[in-house]
Amino acid sequence: MSALLEISGLDAYYGRAHILQGVGFGMGRGEVLALMGRNGAGKSTTMKAVMGLVPPARGEIRFDGQRIEGREPFEIARIGIGYVPEERRIFSELSVMENLSVGQRPPREGVPHWTPERLFALFPNLGRMRDRPGGAMSGGEQQMLTIARTLMGNPRLVLLDEPSEGLAPVIVEEMAKTILALKGEGLSILLSEQNLHFAGNVADRAAIIEKGIIRFTGTMAELKADEAIRAQYLSV
């Protein structure tokens, strides 16, 4: 089976700062991969580069065999990559239903077709507040809404940027269950994470990034076994 996402030699800059320096890794269909590393290591930038929100200076990004680097974000979204940003970024003045409708795209072959009703089954909280403006929801509810909104585009791959950051431990547990449920639906997920406990619970494989360079790729079990790597790059 060919890789779903294949990144190689990816370079990206913010102004003069060289954030990504030849990042490369791949992930298969139906896989959950955790991109791990400290703050500022390049996790978010990698996701933004895949999404076309940060223009890569060099390198290749292949999605389902197709090169996508340098394309517009909306085109990348339309071929089946969904993006859930770190700071949630819901449309605070739009209601839950309206937030979902912004993300809505036509059904896609070979992936689950999401409707508001199906999403409300997955996120029962959202179903109880369909007309509530996004700004009047709690942080955990907002995080669920961003994920639901992205799913409305029927993506094949979801980029989840730090889904557990700033959430109460009890909500983090719920988030882990949600990710596993999505994996059960056959969705591929690339998530960035600092929390090893969380990543260990949901991911099949991990990649560690440090100062814009990938230092480790392997299964979650391999990472758990390798204390030296964890101590060096994750400082736990």
């Binding site: 800059y13 003069r16 060289h18 909306f74 979204a77 449309f91 309206e98 912004v102």
Partner: protein, 632 residues
């Protein structure tokens, strides 16, 4: 009495409709693109002119001819909007706010000359609308039916807009993009198409507003700037981004005008200003507005470190001053006149820079204080019979007092809101000078403002101007590095932190605003004696933009930049004016090109070049390293 109130209310409501169409378009465009479209008044003017041409051509007497012409005019203006968006705005969405504003002002200048070339300088009297030529009798008053139609159009368009934004997918996408356009794109929405459609829609509304106004008033070449400043007032009062707010504010301003003309015919604008003041005090973001969310996104780039001048820079300044002081010995008389003007403009630019650079308050109406300084001097000479010396001292106080009053309101806002408000105030100052004929001589200005006997010669006046301006510029510089200047920068860099270390940010900004106004007043007073006369144009929008261009050309982040910018810009534009009749078009085009080619400004463009060079250097290094590592 009652019927008078009724008639004037109806009059006000009728004039509110066009104002609402323009302001709501402005507001919608700003919401999505974050660009304050200075050229929106120009689109309104184009709507009127194009409407006039089309209606005349299609036959003003037939209903189809008139309404077809009006509709077609709106459509054509929408298409012009598409051209502007695709050719210019699309390239500068990432540019700093001020550059965007400047680019749209470039469009204003270009459209002015295009309209002049196409329709000539004469006013175009509009045709009456067929079917609405008669009157109805309301409480013994004849009231034109067309006015009633206009009154109905306002709420009708408001309802239509509400439906469009609340009930259609396009509307939902527009509202979402208003909050976070990047996220909308990441969800698969073609952002470019959305932006273009929004701009076309807003432009079409302005065009419709202009065409509908035809039966009420003639199309003129001045309607662009008078409309844009009123639309700014409406948008600030109603709340940027709120269509309902724009309607309420348009009605409020329309009615104020209608009654103001009855009660204080000379100072209707002052009345508008007072109402705006009250609204802003009670609700700083307008009647229906909310605190802008854009700032909370933290998109602002970090301001670079500001260092006092090193020895080399101080030496360069001294050399420049000595050269300027020695200039009269070698330069011919006419050049000395140009130099005097440049020296005065350098102070004008430095005063704007003081509030814009360290203060972070961009003013689009700084000419108001320059002009008030000039009028202060002229009024002292004309009405008090004062000689030059006391007049020069009195004049900046007039500007400074205006700075105290206007500044009090302005510092309550920030960013583009503040810029719009400064522009509105400048228009009020301009209109007062223009309308209050008894005091100011109106359009004819005040003549005979000559310097004292000892300063009459070109050389003597040059030295006077140089001494005063150099001293003021040095003083402004000292202030930048004083505790006050530091507090001002602190308030710009991070108001939250500034308040949290015990500093009253608004008061610091207010003081800086006043100082800038005062310094501009000094420049204006010198300018009055230099020219021997003052005119309302001293306070007009183009002069404010002159100052902005000088500052931006020289660089906002450096303290000496505006002085260099003043010399570069004033020298250039003078040459341009001599060369071509359509200097507005040429100037506008150069501004637009400058912004499109260097969307991050001249300094930013230079930095971008350096970034690119750094990267290729690094690549070179990588390649060499690989080569050596690859060697066995």
């Amino acid at each position: 009495m009652f019927d008078l109130i009724l008639t004037q209310t109806l009059n006000g409501l009728a004039s509110a409709s066009s104002l609402f169409l323009v302001a709501s378009g402005l507001s919608i465009i700003f919401g999505v693109t974050r660009i304050v479209n200075f050229a929106h008044g120009s689109l309104y003017m184009l709507g009127a002119y194009i409407g006039w041409t089309l209606v005349t051509w299609l036959g003003p007497t037939s209903g189809l001819g008139f309404w077809g012409g009006v509709g077609l005019a709106a459509l054509l203006v929408a298409i012009i909007g598409v051209v502007i968006e695709v050719a210019i705005l699309r390239r500068i969405y990432q540019a700093p706010e001020l550059f965007q504003l400047l680019a749209t002002f470039g469009v204003v200048l270009m459209i002015q000359d295009i309209a002049l070339a196409t329709w000539g300088a004469e006013d175009k009297l509009g045709p009456r609308a067929p079917g609405f030529k008669s009157f109805v009798i309301l409480f013994d008053n004849r009231f034109p039916t067309y006015e009633l139609l206009l009154i109905a159009i306002g709420p009708l368009v408001l309802a239509l807009l509400w439906f469009l934004f609340q009930k259609t997918r396009w509307g939902t996408l527009v509202r979402a993009a208003t909050q976070d356009r990047e996220m909308v794109a990441a969800l698969g929405v073609n952002q470019r198409l959305l932006f273009t459609s929004v701009f076309a829609f807003g432009a079409g509304l302005a065009g419709l507003g202009g065409a509908l106004q035809l039966p009420r008033e003639a199309a003129t070449l001045h309607m662009d700037l008078s409309m844009i400043s009123e639309a700014f007032v409406v948008v600030v009062v109603g709340g940027l981004g709120s269509v309902t707010g724009a309607y309420l504010a348009a009605v409020l301003i329309g009615i104020l005008h209608a009654f103001g003309i009855l009660i204080f015919p000379k100072i209707t604008l002052v009345l508008v200003f007072l109402v705006m003041a009250v609204v802003l005090v009670v609700k700083p973001y307008g009647l229906m507005g909310r605190r802008p969310v854009g700032a909370a996104r933290g998109t602002a780039t970090a301001e670079p470190l500001l260092r006092p001048a090193d020895r080399a820079a101080k030496l360069a300044g001294l050399v420049a001053l000595i050269l300027l002081a020695a200039a009269p010995l070698v330069t011919p008389d006419y050049l000395l006149l140009t130099l005097t003007e440049l020296v005065i403009f350098a102070l004008f630019a430095a005063s704007l820079h003081f509030m814009m650079g360290p203060g972070g308050m961009a003013s689009f109406g700084h000419a108001a204080y320059f002009g008030l300084g000039a009028y202060g001097a002229a009024l002292a000479v004309k009405w008090l019979g004062a000689p030059m010396e006391p007049a020069l001292i009195f004049a900046p106080f007039l500007a400074g007092i205006a700075g105290v009053v206007f500044g009090w309101f302005c510092v309550r806002l920030s960013g583009v809101y503040l810029a719009m408000l400064t522009l509105a105030f400048a228009q009020i100052a301009w209109a007062t000078a223009f309308q209050w004929v008894e005091l100011t001589g109106g359009d004819n200005g005040i003549l005979g403002v000559w310097p004292s006997h000892w300063a009459v010669s070109k050389t003597a006046f040059y030295y006077l101007a140089l001494a005063i301006c150099a001293a003021c510029v040095v003083l402004l510089r000292v202030m930048v590095f004083s505790p006050l200047g530091y507090a001002l920068r602190a308030a710009r860099d991070n108001p939250l932190r500034t308040e949290a270390i015990g500093i009253d940010t608004m008061r610091v900004q207010w003081v800086a605003f006043t100082i800038a106004a005062f310094a501009a007043g000094i420049a204006g007073a010198l300018f009055a004696f230099f020219k021997g006369s003052v005119f309302p144009t001293y306070m007009a929008i183009p002069r404010s933009v002159d100052a902005l261009l000088m500052v931006l050309l020289g660089g906002v982040q450096t303290v000496s930049g505006p002085i260099v910018g003043a010399f570069a810009y004033a020298g250039l534009s003078e040459q341009l004016m001599k060369m071509t009749m359509y200097w507005r078009f040429t100037l506008g085009l150069s501004i637009v090109l400058l912004v499109v080619l260097f969307p991050r400004g001249l300094v930013g463009g230079f930095l971008a070049l350096r970034e690119r060079r750094d990267r290729s250097d690094k690549d070179g290094a990588v390649v060499t390293r690989l080569a050596t590592e690859g060697a066995p």
